[in-house]
Symmetry: C2
Subunit: 253 residues, 2 copies
């Protein structure tokens, strides 16, 4: 599996992905799931993928081909806003489906792919889209400022409790890394290294990019201290003595 | 969906289940998922179910029928240890499958059911089993002292960080409630009231039982303070300033 999370905040955007892919537990490999496209001062796009690697690699190859082909009718360089960009990614995903869908079905393989696409194109605010395998998509709003794809459930509760549109990029980055750490601890199929990209609003460029691996002192600190902090918070809450003393009669016994 | 968690500790066992069932978002109902069977001083069994409600209700009805039938060749009253009890539950689940499986398949419905069975029968220690839809099962060990069924991922990270076999019943109950709270907050399909049962080792009886609903002051405290505690723990960790300053060149860009 995969875990990717993207956040669209007032201050900009945070993107974080792991890099583990697996088919069963034997074929475990490292593949980048984050793709950056930047024309400084004009547009910056970040695309992350989860699902069947053959499908998502085909998607990214086709997107890149169009970007390199001056005669392509549309590409991520030519679209004039993020909505058009999401439409384009959806259309290319549908082209992959037309090419591969029936062959996969014959082998009993689902057409499993999901995409997060975010960034900013000059003339509009930063935007974030979650694109489904069918090529349709939804957009993040101030009420729902983040999307996840892949193995998303383990790392969702902490984001739900902390994140809002007003969260700073520093805190959102910390939050994304904590969410990833919770996922990695509870699920073998998500693993290091991580790709982290941060885009400041209205800079129209990748603000920072880092590969986070075993040598990252910050992530090592998160791994060590977040667990301790959770245990301390847990111990500070009172025990449920009244529940242990409860002798209610269960219904229907 | 459903969320149930059971823990087998040195001090005894903790069982917690929610009570929401849904088919889509329209048919939301409250059904108990926890069943207690007790002959004080001789045996205590707790059975929790998740999955298709028609399947799991049929399972429980058949188990109860056998318990009330003095001529039944085997029942949860007659088995002499927990392993036999798990075998029996698995066999009855297979009988449900033989009865309903092909009809469900014709409607494209999976035979989806999972069961947690724990307790103690005089002559052996407390034991806990997780029983799959196929009727096979695994047993909890000191290394893996808990099982979850249903919507398990949201509430797993906090258990993974805190629980061990040496955890007290008080702390394990608190932990199960925090895990449930995280699940309820992130997933609409899990909801109050909760059923909570605690079994002390070697008492061979239900030690305490409680229905936890909106009026439970302890659970209200957990809901209010755990979120605050998480946010405080979050804020206490340093921000990833060096990652935001990172200007590494992404590979392949």
């Amino acid at each position: 599996m995969t875990y990717c999370v993207a956040m669209r905040l007032d201050a900009g955007m945070v993107f974080l992905s792991d890099s583990r892919t697996n088919a069963g537990v034997d074929h475990i490999n490292t593949f980048r799931k984050m793709n950056l496209f930047e024309r400084r001062g004009e547009r910056v796009l970040v695309l992350m993928t989860a699902g069947n690697l053959a499908i998502t690699q085909s998607l990214v190859s086709r997107l890149r081909e169009a970007m390199e082909d001056p005669d392509a009718p549309v590409s991520l360089w030519s679209v004039t806003n993020l909505f058009e960009a999401a439409c384009h990614v959806g259309e290319v995903l549908r082209a992959v489906y037309r090419h591969d869908g029936s062959a996969l079905r014959e082998f009993g393989i689902d057409f499993n792919a999901s995409v997060l696409l975010g960034g900013q194109i000059a003339g509009e605010a930063p935007r974030l889209f979650s694109i489904y395998a069918a090529g349709n998509f939804i957009e993040a709003t101030p009420d729902t400022p983040y999307f996840q794809i892949g193995e998303s459930k383990y790392g969702k509760p902490i984001i739900d409790r902390v994140l809002s549109s007003r969260t700073s990029l520093e805190e959102a980055t910390k939050l994304a890394l904590i969410s990833m750490d919770s996922t990695i601890r509870s699920n073998l199929s998500v693993g290091l290294p991580l790709d982290l990209a941060i885009v400041h609003a209205n800079e129209l460029a990748v603000g920072s990019w880092a590969s986070v691996d075993e040598d990252s002192s910050y992530f090592a600190m998160i791994r060590a201290r977040w667990g301790d902090a959770l245990r301390t918070a847990f111990e500070a809450l009172p025990d449920p003595d009244e529940l242990l003393a409860s002798k209610a009669i269960p219904p229907g016994q």
